[in-house]
Point group: C2
Chain length 109, copies 2
DNA sequence: AGACTACTTGGCATATTCGCCAAGTAAAGC
DNA sequence: GCTTTACTTGGCGAATATGCCAAGTAGTCT
């Protein structure tokens, strides 16, 4: 593919949008993001939440952090992750507002 | 993987959120969604926009339609696609509001 | 009817993502 | 220093996504 990014006017903006959207486009990562809305969590808490290997969860968190979604902080043996921006809440509201549209004849503000 | 969906309380809601988010998590599909904010377009217009094969564009549109993002309508030889819900605009605003957070010390409403 | 245009669908090769295991790092406790 | 706990990173097989070509469908036009 000849790189869409190099042909469109809003290349950089779109690339960043894609990174953010992709970081949320996976069941485990979405569950992590939702959990973090309640406050910071250590990796082992999130492992229990998604029920995957610790290494798998760690890699998901790396994806989200590199997209700009998360901050991390090491305290003692634990590493705590938290949302960089609480407005992620609004983001999900936007998505949910799209969902009723899946049924015909439903209005959507 | 033992299906996250079957273990979480908001399984169905999350599955639909994932479908919507995934439908936007690709450069061509994001570009299509952005273009459709200005109004309906036929498939050949969108092919010119993303610069891919017509069949490729058609498949992208199918993904977006099945996620509940788009409506389609055939008129004459053309098929026109449009956003089911104009609030997709808000959705992108939410994403962009997340982006400044990628730089440290930036506040985000 | 036959030709042409605008798509959609099937199939397949390539690319990307995912998840586990194994190995490595870093802090805490003894 | 040695052990344990909490995590990260490397690697690799398996699953999923992507994109093109070829073939099929459905209107339009003459």
């Amino acid at each position: 593919m000849p790189k869409l990014a190099s042909r469109t006017p809003h290349a950089t903006r779109d690339a960043r949008r894609i990174a953010v959207i992709k970081a949320l486009a996976h069941p485990s990562r979405l569950a992590i993001a939702e959990a973090l809305q309640a406050g910071e969590r250590c990796v082992c808490d999130l492992r229990d939440l998604v029920g995957a290997d610790l290494s798998t969860v760690s890699k998901h968190l790396t994806v989200m952090r590199k997209a700009g979604l998360l901050d991390m902080e090491k305290r003692g043996l634990n590493v705590f992750y938290r949302l960089r921006c609480p407005c992620l809440l609004n983001f999900f509201e936007c998505v949910d507002r799209l969902i009723p549209a899946a049924q015909p004849k439903t209005t959507c503000k």
